[in-house]
Amino acid sequence: MSGFGETLLDATDETVRVRFVVNGRKVACEVAPRDTLVDCLRDKLELTGTHAGCEMGACGACLVQIDGRAAHACLIFAVQADGARIETIEGLTESGVLADLQAEFHRRNALQCGFCTQGMLVNAQELLSQVAQPSREEIRDALSGNYCRCTGYEAIVDAIDAVAKERMKARSAGGGGT
């Protein structure tokens, strides 16, 4: 990918090798330039927890963390992510950072068909990393980019609200450190 060869323009369908760290593991795979990251994750790396929904950045089903921040895996080509650190729902689950959110979603039945759930969790994690005590209105604002086609938003807002409060409580019990 370095250097602009004369042949590059004729090589539109040729695959290129990309390397990134996915869920803490170094990964290399062959992708065509037009393959999006969500397709690469699902088809090449068999990480099917990340869902492809609208594929235009509106529904939030494909949210992953790229270099620590939530991003749509359908709005980035895999070649662009070369060198990046990516966390998918599988990695976030393994590391336990979402365990309280997942337990609360489960307890409150904050999912119906489940298609949007991992995007909701990635988004909720992003929100709580930015705003420690969001109001219900702020939670709803933050979720405006995540579509739940079962329209079960109320329980999702409840779950995020409850986890925010629990995390605050845990932080203050821990002596006010972050």
Binding site: E6, R69, A70, A71, H72, F77, E126, G145
Partner: protein, 286 residues
């Protein structure tokens, strides 16, 4: 919903990026945050032969003071408008507008320069460059130049950028103690494109307005300054009568396009409502 096949080139320097564009015979697009370009490619509204990734070009990064301006690198992400202290202090209008730009995950990747280059008439930041009297710094094969925001937006998605040219930075005059700003938009749902939005920068002596720039978005083919409304306010105090006069001026300033969903008269009405609210807020602060 898949992009047509293209070649991808990651440029390390501005020269490399410009050179790649020239060699592709203009059948190329620069790729920054990609939050608008990638959906456009997926929908095949655009199908260039080459994508030139400019996100690794260091010169396009960073926010710093330069004389009386803040130089905001083109690759500055929307989320940085909220987190960067220099923006909060010296370009508070951008800080105020940022939470209204799409959704958090989009703000994590979308770039200021990309938004201005695309010039979506419904976007917040292009309109704010008008309110701020910003200058767009551009580089191309024939060298570097700066274009005032007033001269940059020409028509629907059409700007002063020539094929193969790249925005390197946006220069914003530093916010001063005698200035006030206001921003808001009316949308059906937070994060959606606004039905109408507005940003205002005013310079005041006591409570008299010495200068004011009012910029609307989502009301026409380009971000639009409300010059008649501005004229009716300069040299005056912000009282109810003046605000009503400014609202009346919008009839001549704005020509919302016809649409089944939001008829022009309704959009003009919403613009008046929004302007009234914002001027009211400015007046309270004066």
């Amino acid at each position: 919903m898949k992009a047509r096949a293209f070649s991808y080139f990651r440029a390390a320097t501005i020269d490399e990026a410009l050179d790649a564009h020239a060699r592709a015979g203009d059948d190329a697009r620069f790729l920054a945050g990609g939050q608008s370009l990638v959906p456009a490619l997926s929908l095949r509204l655009q199908a260039p032969r080459l994508l030139i990734d400019i996100t690794h070009i260091d010169e396009l990064r960073g926010v710093r003071r330069e004389g009386g301006h803040l130089r905001i690198g083109a690759l500055t992400r929307h989320c940085e408008m909220l987190s960067e202290p220099l923006i909060a202090e010296f370009a508070p209008l951008l800080h105020a507008a940022a939470p209204f730009v799409a959704h958090p995950a989009i703000r994590n990747r979308g770039t200021f320069g990309g938004s201005v280059a695309l010039a979506d008439p419904a976007s917040e930041f292009p309109a704010m460059t008008l309110a701020l009297d910003a200058e767009i710094e551009i580089v191309g094969a024939s060298g570097r130049r700066r274009v005032k925001a007033d001269d940059f937006f020409i028509d629907l998605f059409e700007t002063a950028l020539q094929p193969g040219e790249l925005i390197t930075a946006i220069h914003v005059p530093l916010f001063k103690a005698d200035q006030r700003f206001a921003f808001d938009e009316l949308a059906r749902r937070r994060g959606d494109y606004a039905l109408v939005g507005c940003g205002i920068m005013a310079t005041c002596t006591a409570s008299r307005i010495d200068d004011i720039r009012i910029s609307f978005f989502s009301v026409g083919n380009t971000p639009t300054r409300a010059k008649e409304a501005e004229r009716s306010l300069i040299g005056s105090r912000l009282d109810a009568e003046r605000i009503a006069a400014a609202q009346g001026g919008l009839e001549g300033d704005l020509a919302p396009p016809d649409s089944d969903e939001v008829p022009p008269a309704m959009r003009l009405h919403l613009a008046r409502v929004l302007l009234g609210r914002l001027l009211g807020r400015l007046g309270e602060g004066a």
